[in-house]
C-alpha cells in the first residue's frame, strides 16, 4: 500500500467512511505480500523461479490462516439476540470460539460450555420403535428431537441462576418462570463441570449453531471468536500485522521449496528454520512484554488471597 497523507489517514480524503484508514499502518495487505514476494523472492537469480502467482497467493493465504488460528490476537466480536429457537447462528467467517458471554445490563458474563450435549438429531419411529423411511429409502427425520423439544420448551433441568433460597438449585425454566422439584436433603452428586449459575451452551459445529438452554431466551449473546483472516474471500481486505510480514515471506518460501522436486534438503531445512524462528520472534514482539506492563503485573505480588 502506498503511503498516504495525514488528511487521507484521518479523514479518508473527505470520503465516507472517514475512519477507514485509522490504524492501517499496522498492517500490510495481501496484495502487497504477493507483489513483494514475486518481486523480491522469485526470479532468474533467486532461490525460487518459475512459479505461478496463484501458487504464491495460495501459500500466502494459508500462512495468514495459520497465523490467525494460533499466533495473532485478532479477535472478532459479534452480538446477537437469542430467540425461541435458543440458538446463535455462527458468523460466516467463524473458525473457533474464544469466549461466549451473556450480556445483561452492560455487563458480560462468560458462559460455560456444556460438555454434555444439549442437542441431538432424531429419526422417526413407529410404535414398535422401527425406523421409518420414505419411498426413496431415506430415513425420515423430525424437525426437532425429543431432547431438543424439551430444551426449547424449558422442560430440561437447569441450574437456577438467580439469588435467594433456590440459588444454584436445579429447576425448570418455562416461559421465563422457574419451577423446582420438592427439595429433600442436600444437593449431593453435583456435576461440577457444568455447575455454573450462568446458562450453558453447546456448539453444534456441523449445523453451524450454538445451542443454549431455555434460560437464554430473549437474552443477548456476545461471541468472541477467531476467523482465518481471509475476510470472507474479499482479497482486497485481507491484511497481516507488519510484525508478521517477514514470517509470511518465509512461510511462502518454505512451502514452495518444500513442495518442489529436486530442491536440496539443506535448502528446505534452512527455509524451515527461518520460518520457525521468525514465527517465534513475531509472537514475542506481539506479546508486548515491556517493563511497564511487567511492573503492573508485579504489583499484585503482595496481594492477600483469602
Amino acid at each position: 500500500m502506498a503511503y498516504i497523507t495525514d488528511y487521507q489517514y484521518y479523514e479518508n480524503g473527505g470520503i465516507v467512511p472517514e475512519d477507514s484508514n485509522w490504524g492501517s499502518y499496522q498492517y500490510v495487505t495481501l496484495e502487497d505480500i504477493v507483489n513483494n514476494f514475486m518481486l523480491m523472492f522469485q526470479g532468474n537469480n533467486e532461490i525460487i523461479n518459475n512459479i505461478n502467482r496463484y501458487q504464491v497467493l495460495f501459500h500466502a493465504k494459508r500462512g495468514i490462516q495459520e497465523l490467525n488460528y494460533d499466533a495473532m490476537k485478532e479477535i472478532k466480536i459479534l452480538e446477537l439476540k437469542v430467540c425461541d429457537q435458543l440458538r446463535f447462528v455462527l458468523p460466516q467467517d467463524y473458525v473457533n470460539w474464544v469466549r461466549i458471554n451473556l450480556e445483561e445490563d452492560g455487563m458480560l458474563y462468560p458462559l460455560t460450555e456444556n460438555i454434555q450435549t444439549n442437542w441431538s438429531g432424531a429419526y422417526l419411529q413407529d410404535n414398535d420403535c422401527r425406523i421409518l423411511f420414505d419411498i426413496d429409502g431415506a430415513v425420515l427425520k423430525p424437525a426437532d428431537s425429543w431432547f431438543d423439544i424439551q430444551r426449547l420448551d424449558g422442560t430440561q433441568k437447569n441450574m437456577y441462576p438467580g439469588n435467594g433460597p433456590y440459588a444454584g438449585k436445579m429447576g425448570y425454566c418455562i416461559d421465563g418462570k422457574w419451577c423446582f422439584d420438592y427439595s429433600v436433603g442436600k444437593n449431593f452428586g453435583m456435576n461440577t463441570e457444568t455447575a455454573n449459575v450462568n446458562p450453558t451452551f453447546s456448539i453444534n459445529k456441523k449445523a453451524g449453531v450454538i445451542n443454549f438452554n431455555s434460560s437464554m431466551m430473549d437474552k443477548f449473546v456476545v461471541l468472541e471468536y477467531v476467523s482465518d483472516g481471509l475476510e470472507s474471500g474479499d482479497d482486497s481486505s485481507v491484511s497481516v500485522n507488519k510484525l508478521f510480514e517477514e514470517f509470511i515471506y518465509a512461510y511462502i518460501k518454505y512451502s514452495i521449496l518444500n513442495g518442489r522436486f529436486g530442491v536440496q534438503e539443506y535448502v528446505i531445512n534452512r527455509a524451515r528454520k527461518d520460518k520457525s524462528s521468525l514465527l517465534r520472534n513475531a509472537k514475542l514482539r506481539l506479546s508486548n512484554i515491556h517493563p511497564g506492563r511487567l511492573l503492573m503485573n508485579m504489583r499484585g505480588q503482595n496481594k492477600w488471597i483469602k
Binding site: 496484495e31 504477493v34 532468474n44 537469480n45 505461478n52 502467482r53 496463484y54 501458487q55 497467493l57 495460495f58 493465504k61 494459508r62 481471509l230 474471500g233 482479497d235 482486497s236
Partner: protein, 317 residues
C-alpha cells in the same frame, strides 16, 4: 543501431563473387535475409537462458561484464504494448505479429466512457461528457496521465490536459472519426493477468483460496485468442498486452540498373532494414553466406559461412 541491409548484401556479394561467377538476385537475397534474421532473433532467447544459467554459476559479472543486459536490450527492442480487441464477453484476440506474449494487464478502474462527437487533432471531444472539469487547475478531471483507449480502433493515448467540460487533449491523435467509442482508465490500478495452462484453469477457478479475481486475474490461450478469468472481466479495452513481436521482414529494394546491376534505393516502397543491431552483422553475413553457398553450389562459401558462425557462437557463449 540496426545492421545495414545494403552493407550486408554488399559483403555477401563480395564473398560470393570471388571468382566472378556468384550472383545473388535481390529476391533471393531478401529470402535469405529473412531466414537469417529470424534464426538469429530466436537464438537471442536461448542465449539469454544460457547466460542466466552461467550467471547463477558466477560465470558472468556486472557492469560491462553483464552479458544478459545486452541481450535483454535487444529483445526489449521488439517489445510492444497494445490493447487487445474484444472477440466476445471475456475473450480477447491477440496481435497477429506476436512471437511471445510476455504479460497481460487488466485495467481495473474505468473512470469515463463515451463516444466522440467531433474530431480535432490530438483531442477527444465528447459533447455528452459528464464529470469532466478543469477545476481545480492543478488536478483536473479526468486526471492528467490517465490512459484512454479508442475502443473502436483500440489505439491508446494519455490524457495531457483538460480544455473544458467536453474537450480533453491527448498525447496521440487516436480519434479520427465522429462516433468512435472510448474508455478512460486510472493509470495506477493495473493488475497483471497470469497465464494458466489449460489443464489447470478449472482447478484454479474452483479453488477457494486461489481462484482468479479482479485483483488476481488469469487467462488461458486458445489459438490466437485469450479467455480471461474471472468472467466478470468483459469490458472492451480492459486488457492490454506486452509482447515480443517478430522482427519486420528485411527487404533490399532497388529501382534502376547501373552497369547491369540493380542499384540500391531505400526510398522504394517496402524497403526494410534489418532490425537486429549492428553487432549482429557478421553473423547475419555468415548465415546468409551458407544459403548462398548452397544456391551457387560453392562449398567454400558455405564452409566459410559455417566457420564464421561457429566462431561467433564460441566467442559469445
Amino acid at each position: 543501431m540496426a545492421a545495414s541491409i545494403n552493407e550486408v548484401r554488399n559483403t555477401v556479394l563480395a564473398i560470393a563473387n570471388k571468382n566472378n561467377y556468384g550472383y545473388i538476385s535481390p529476391q533471393d537475397f531478401n529470402l535469405y535475409a529473412k531466414q537469417a534474421q529470424i534464426d538469429m532473433f530466436e537464438d537471442y532467447f536461448y542465449s539469454y537462458n544460457n547466460w542466466i544459467n552461467k550467471q547463477n554459476g558466477r560465470q558472468s559479472g556486472t557492469g560491462y561484464a553483464d552479458i544478459t543486459k545486452g541481450l535483454v536490450e535487444v529483445m526489449d527492442s521488439f517489445s510492444t504494448q497494445v490493447f487487445l480487441p474484444q472477440v466476445n464477453s471475456n475473450v480477447y484476440s491477440l496481435p497477429a505479429d506476436y512471437y511471445l506474449i510476455n504479460k497481460l494487464f487488466y485495467y481495473s478502474t474505468p473512470t469515463f466512457t463515451g463516444t466522440s462527437t467531433a474530431v480535432s487533432a490530438n483531442q477527444l471531444i465528447d459533447a455528452a461528457a459528464v464529470g469532466w472539469t478543469t477545476i481545480p487547475a492543478s488536478a483536473p478531471t479526468p486526471n492528467i496521465g490517465s490512459i484512454i483507449v479508442n475502443t473502436t480502433t483500440f489505439q491508446e493515448a494519455y490524457v495531457t490536459g483538460v480544455i473544458n467540460a467536453t474537450t480533453i487533449t491527448l498525447s496521440a491523435d487516436i480519434f479520427l472519426a465522429v462516433g468512435e467509442t472510448y474508455v478512460i482508465y486510472v493509470n495506477t490500478k493495473i493488475r497483471e493477468v497470469e497465464r494458466v495452462s489449460q489443464n489447470k484453469i478449472f482447478l484454479l477457478t474452483n479453488s477457494m483460496l486461489a481462484a482468479p479475481t479482479t485483483t488476481y486475474p488469469a487467462y488461458v490461450l486458445d489459438g490466437n485468442n485469450i479467455t480471461v478469468y474471472p468472467t466478470t472481466i468483459l469490458q472492451p479495452g480492459a486488457i492490454r498486452s506486452q509482447y515480443i513481436r517478430y522482427p519486420a521482414v528485411p527487404r533490399w529494394t532497388w529501382q534502376n540498373l547501373g552497369l547491369g546491376e540493380p542499384q540500391f534505393d531505400p526510398t522504394q516502397p517496402g524497403f526494410q532494414e534489418f532490425e537486429l543491431p549492428d553487432s549482429d552483422e557478421p553473423t547475419l553475413i555468415a548465415k546468409i553466406c551458407q544459403y548462398v553457398g548452397i544456391e551457387i553450389r560453392e562449398p567454400d562459401v558455405f564452409n566459410f559461412g559455417k566457420a564464421e558462425e561457429t566462431n561467433e557462437t564460441q566467442e559469445t557463449s
